[in-house]
Symmetry: C2
Subunit: 338 residues, 2 copies
């Protein structure tokens, strides 16, 4: 899922300004990403370029590049990692949109909706394979370690995606299960982005792991905020209908927290989610959760993981300016007014 | 696509006996493959086990193991490669069945038909990521080279699959384009299987490349035979309807050869394929191609590539017994009476 959907020419009222480090990352990433895309079969280049035309803030590429800088690495060492991580992220978007039947991505038609499901499946597969190729075509000990971490994150991301889908059919999901799912689905790739940047920048395992811990908690915090917005977000900024997650019967954090709190609210919520909910049900469920303090509880989970992310940055020596940028990025991607 | 679909308890009249080397490969592969599957998220294990329950002859695993033996390597060195290659092959089957809307695989319901498209997409993604993990979890110079070759083959395979899909919408495809597509779609992974076996078995680059050349031509020869059976195959052994490829307007070798020969047959064939063909059209097209000598021409292409595959085995020193097994496997997978 896009961290901060960027409209093609559409105005947004994001309060927290886009960190400079991300704008810089985009300017380094995009030419390299497009060069990688040129290696695709001609039949896939159109659909993939269409997909990328929607933009995106390239948070993961930013984490790779700033991660490398934080351990004293140079941009050119980290760019292949940024490309590889963005390729994995974008393959997951291509496939997720098919699975979720989302017809729009970044205010453009999703690839499956525009070019057909088969093309979207194969385009995703191609980006996934290309990500590994980018790191292994001329293997060095650093790029191999980056490829190993990326394969691991890809695998965890898919496990999390599958768990998320399996939750939809279940009546109960614990907060612990939900957090484990979100750690895998979102945290693993953000963690790998930071660690890969550090590895390519020449860090030792300890610094790479500390940056990975920052990324993992940042991913969970981001996902918790995303879950909040999935229930209480403003459709004009999220680009999704009111209560989108409840309509899809997703067992994201708000529902898991409500269940764990128990009582009448949990019972009524369970009844609402036991069948395909309608708009009225969604409004009622949202009110129940608000009254039960679920909104504040999920916000507290987000804050807790943001705090843990920032704490991880204190455990190793990092260059001052990139470290500041990592803090800025963390505040940006966990902002609640997007 | 499965080289030789094996029914769950269903009798087949394959004339060429299954080479012993393949049976032996299966006995080494299956426990290791199931152990790898245990690492999947619980939500994916059922669907993937269902998919694998259909069997298969494990030709690719056989090529990895015999490839290793041919350069003096040991089975235990090659098993991770066999697992990784079979994982990539099976992820492609999971996704291909969705794309082609094939509801059956190895006489069992396809995963997408049984568990839903989303599950089949994600299960394929998980197997693809797991394949890389199997080779990179404890990287050695050999396993890294194997992972590099596998990523490359995966990428080529997807490019070929995409080209194949793009051909369906085109009116003309040259034999050269068709062969390039089949080299990528089928030849690349068979080539990688052989080369990865050689690499893991300790071969130098030259021996690995020679075995890779054997696998590539074997893949094209196999695909040419598959194309023949797609038009002239017996539905009771292929498990597909008569003229399945023509019904799907696939521009496989027979159609490309017919176009290249030109004349009235090509014109009529083009007219038939310009709209969605029905059973009567298929019968007519088949007859036209038979009369124009297309069947023999495609068989000659298969023979030529089988010959080139076997010749590649003469270019480097290989152990006698595995070399014989590679010849036997080549004859087996290009047999026309399956």
């Amino acid at each position: 899922m896009s961290l901060v959907p960027q409209g093609a020419g559409r105005a947004h009222s994001v309060q927290v300004p886009v960190p400079r480090a991300l704008a810089r990352a985009s300017s380094l990433l995009v030419p390299a990403l497009l060069a990688a895309i040129d290696r695709l079969d001609p039949s896939l280049q159109g659909p993939v370029r269409h997909h990328l035309a929607g933009g995106g803030k390239h948070v993961r590429a930013g984490l790779v590049l700033v991660g490398a800088a934080a351990v004293g690495g140079r941009d050119e060492e980290a760019v292949p990692g940024a490309v590889a991580v963005e390729l994995v992220h974008n393959y997951s978007l291509l496939h997720d949109d098919i699975i979720d039947r989302d017809r729009e991505r970044r205010h453009l038609p999703a690839v499956w909706a525009q070019f057909g499901e088969g093309v979207a499946i194969v385009a995703g597969d191609a980006l996934s394979a290309l990500a590994t190729k980018v790191l292994l075509d001329t293997p060095t000990s650093r790029s191999v370690e980056a490829a190993r971490r990326l394969a691991d994150a890809n695998f965890q991301m898919i496990s999390g995606q599958s768990a998320d889908m399996a939750f939809e059919a279940r009546t109960q999901v614990s907060v612990e299960e939900c957090l484990a799912m979100e750690r895998a689905k979102t945290g693993a790739l953000l963690s790998a982005a930071c660690a890969i940047g550090a590895v390519l920048g020449g860090a030792d395992g300890r610094a790479a792991d500390a940056l990975g811990t920052y990324g993992e908690h940042l991913g969970i915090a981001f996902q918790a905020v995303d879950d909040l917005l999935g229930v209480w977000g403003d459709p004009s900024t999220t680009g999704k209908p009111v209560g989108a997650d409840l309509l899809a019967r997703k067992k994201a954090l708000p529902v898991a927290v409500a269940f764990e709190r128990g009582g009448e609210a949990a019972e009524e919520l369970a009844a609402i989610l036991s069948h395909a909910p309608e708009a009225g049900d969604v409004a009622r469920a949202t009110l129940l959760m608000e009254r039960a303090g679920v909104r504040d509880a999920v916000a507290a989970i987000a804050d807790e993981h943001l705090h843990e992310a920032l704490e991880a940055l204190e455990r190793v020596h990092l260059e001052a300016k990139p470290k500041e940028e990592l803090v800025e990025i963390a505040r940006y991607v966990t902002a609640r007014d997007r």
